[in-house]
């Protein structure tokens, strides 16, 4: 059975099924399933719809795509063997971690889904140099617990951390509330070993020393599975700060809360985290099992966490508290014991989950705007919601201007769905026009590809495509994601353009 490339110009079956590749089905599917079964063991290959139904979406409720086959290697060696087999057969594949993504990045349509979540070993911890080597399927919170045993922590803390994997974090360059002060995943990855789609193994970065040459590690982290599959990741662990103070300020006006956030940032204080939730979100949380004791009549709450040396901490707390009060906060709570701190955080961490009570479907956005524009943007978002008759719930990383305007709705109602779609597009446009970006941490995946041409010029998108082709010339690793296919012009092979080399 041939796996021939379809003629150029053949229309794609869907954005996820680029024109070059046939749908994996029939005899070919059986053949591939058998071959992969020999590599990973038969029970770790699934190819029936009933077994695959759980893998048809990630954490974004709006999308459903059925892969042809799921393969779950148990070790890095098995993973490499799988990738090499797929390379030989010229088959595309989609790497997937825990499926907690919010951009539809780990969805496959008629192709192979390569699940990494059996690779769960923490291979080593070097306390002296504050490094750990982990396999891509290690859950973020599990790494955190291991680090805690040594008085350290792993700083990137996305809300999904109890389920999401380090490999997934690497693919998306995940953030989380504490990235405001501590940086995103890339700032905490020192090196990684990856298998490229052609089956070759590369080591990127350097765990122990400076790296000379191009920042290929920086290019790989955040490449959303389009450049290859990480097999081992060397992460940096962070010492625990000696002092932590967590404050919760509640406001009777959203504008006042946004103003407080802008002012805190402008002082130059770098909070460890600075989060905001609006009334709709607060109510959703307080009505759920995650109730955290937030004031349900507040228009917005701001959660500020400060950490560092004990010396100077009280001064910073006082400054932040007085900024909040001057901006109009009704009350400012300060937690100084771990239990109280955990309660204040609970509402924020579980906000997304609490939305599930409000309506069966949820549209999530991830735009970033300059912090000085926060008050204006929040007002515009509210106005957009009112005009389209949809309810926008804002929960977001106010400290870096990373908004998550979420809209719960009934996806089975096409009229409501189209209003939601229109509202989201308008919100995104507002954020772009304010000098922002379309995604701060969730990634482009499939969900935000349509916005890429609004944000980047054709030449820039083409440069991204060319970069991708360096790692994956056949475009088989997570095809059809991140950059719209029509933005990738053909580029001639380097050999024909390069001028003759110097002699010697």
């Amino acid at each position: 059975m041939s796996t021939s490339v379809l003629p150029a110009g053949t229309p794609a079956h869907s954005p996820l099924q680029p024109a070059q590749y046939e749908r994996l089905e029939g005899e070919l599917l059986l053949e591939v399933a058998a071959a992969l079964g020999k590599i990973v063991g038969e029970r770790w290959v699934r190819s029936t719809p009933s077994a695959l139904i759980a893998y048809t979406s990630d954490a974004l409720p709006g999308y459903s795509h059925m892969p042809s086959l799921l393969v779950l290697p148990g070790t890095p060696d098995e993973t490499v063997a799988v990738v090499r087999y797929l390379a030989d057969r010229k088959l595309p594949f989609v790497p997937r971690g825990a499926g907690t993504g919010l951009s539809g990045g780990a969805l496959a349509e008629g192709t192979v889904l390569l699940g990494l979540n059996r690779l769960t070993r923490i291979l080593s911890v070097d306390v002296e140099n504050r490094l750990a080597v982990v396999e891509p399927g290690v859950v973020n919170a599990v790494l955190g617990r291991e680090a805690a045993r040594h008085g350290l922590h792993y700083a990137p803390d996305p809300s999904s951390q109890t389920a999401c994997t380090i490999g997934g974090n690497v693919a998306e360059n995940a953030g989380g509330p504490h990235c405001l002060k501590y940086g995103v995943t890339l700032n905490h990855v020192a090196a990684l070993t990856a298998v490229l789609p052609d089956g070759s193994i590369v080591q990127l970065g350097n765990a122990f020393a400076e790296c000379d040459g191009y920042d290929l590690l920086g290019a790989f982290v955040g490449s959303e599975g389009c450049f290859g599959v990480a097999l081992e990741v060397t992460v940096r662990l962070t010492p625990n700060p000696p002092a932590i103070r967590t404050l919760l300020a509640d406001f009777s006006e959203v504008n006042a809360a946004a103003l407080a956030v802008s002012r805190i940032i402008a002082t130059g204080i770098v909070p460890a985290a600075l989060e905001m939730m609006d009334a709709a979100t607060i109510r959703a949380v307080e009505e759920s099992i995650y109730a955290a004791g937030y004031p349900i009549d507040a228009a917005a709450v701001v959660l500020v966490e400060l950490d560092g040396l004990e010396a100077g901490m009280e001064g910073e707390v006082a400054t932040v508290a007085s900024i909040c009060r001057e901006a109009g906060a009704r009350e400012v709570q300060v937690a100084s014991d771990p239990a109280h701190r955990a309660r204040l955080w609970q509402g924020r961490k579980k906000a997304f989950g609490a939305m599930g009570r409000v309506a069966p479907a949820l549209v999530v956005q991830d735009a970033v705007v300059p912090r000085t524009r926060l008050p204006a943007i929040l007002a515009a978002i509210h106005e957009t919601g009112v005009r389209h008759g949809v309810k926008v719930c804002n929960v977001f990383h106010a400290g870096d201007g990373n908004l998550h305007p979420n809209i719960p709705y009934d996806a089975t109602d096409p009229e409501e769905a189209s209003r939601v779609e229109a509202a989201m597009s308008e919100i995104m446009q507002t954020c772009i026009e304010a000098g922002g970006t379309i995604t701060g941490e969730h990634g482009v995946g499939m969900d935000k590809m349509k916005y890429m041409p609004r944000l980047f010029t054709e030449d820039t998108l083409d440069a991204m495509c060319r970069l991708r082709s360096v790692f994956d010339p056949e475009r088989r690793s997570n095809p059809g994601k991140v950059v719209p296919v029509h933005s990738c012009r053909e580029w001639q092979s380097a050999a024909s353009l390069r001028s003759p080399r110097h002699a010697g």
Binding site: L123, C179, S200, Y214, D459, L461, A463, L497, A503
Partner: protein, 427 residues
Amino acid sequence: MQAEERVESVSALAELVLNARATGTPLRIAGAGTWMDAGRPTSAEQLVSLRSLSGVLEYVPGDLTITALAGTTHAELDAVTAAEGQWVPLDPVGSAAGTVGATIATGSSGPLSALTGTPRDVVLGIDAVLGQGDVISAGGRVVKNVAGFDLVRLLTGSWGTLGILTAVTLRLRARPEMDVTMAVPIPDSAAELGVFLQRLSSLPISTAACELVSPAAASRMQLGDGSVALMRFMGSEASVNAQLSALSAGISGCVPCPDDIWANFSAGDEPGTFAVRWSAARAQLPHLWQAARSAELALGASWSHANVARGVVRQVAHAADTNSLIESWRNVSALEVPSQSPPPNVRFTSAHSQLSSSDRSRVVTIGERMPAAAWPVLCPSAVNDRLSVGVRDAFDPQRLLNRGILGDSAGDSDAVVAAATGGYGNA
């Protein structure tokens, strides 16, 4: 050989690159031209200066970000941001007369990188003209951004070989209430230095910079006859004063430094000197320092400094005899720290594991300004692997931009040294 071309606009630059592409003319990119002797010998037929592409494009102090054309000097950026009580978290080698474009292109960093990270952690957006004349705008103006593939990270530290930077957007920091530097004598032997650094890390302090400095530089800064550690504290008055108390209580012999100590520090990089950096696992810094000090003594006219947080030792040397320079520096590069037994908490390592003990003891040498003959011996090129060649092919297939500066094989430095006479090499 064509004269220097000073571009005044991005479109003029794009046109220049298109012409170069049509005629196959290799280009040498320059900012203010203050660090042209850095990097490997290049072969070029035309010098392109971006010094006139200068000025702030957007500055919103409340956002703590700034966008400036690549030819803007650090002096200008410092003035603009200081007026708003802010500063640019870049600390490159060289003076404030250098351009921000050059700092981002070379990824140059200094003592303050302990606090701020390297340029790759600071730059948010880059506009550039690539090797085929295409004009791109990568990243953005906001502090958090994962849209698309990361061209910003790739261009930063690429030494102009993938694209010519025309504008950059940077994070900013607020000027601290207090900015104080203390100096304390340190031992040079690995064992004693290790104890000292352990002691330091146990104190309730958080330094913005902690830089070891060897005697030649210390005495130039009037800090005595031996090596010293310079410790910089930035923060609120309450925080800094408390840290200074803790420091004095924990370590004896600390003296305050004058305000211009860091300007004095960077003045040690004189014209005509050679410079190199070594790094290894942080825990090995004391051994690296000891080895670097031995090399320094063997060479005579030189000085060393080390960034404790980043585990990097840098040495700057005059050397009439480049052979003994290469020999001394090769000894440091070949340093093998006696490998310690694996830490007790290692569970097991796989065949691919990054944390092998051989990695731990390997010293990485990164050249800055070296004699041409030293490059292939001390710093094998890091851009001749398949992926790096592919990246170069994608962005500058004809190798028009700073050919050879990273030791790319199309501009093999040995061949270039022999062949390039009268070109814009490292004169």
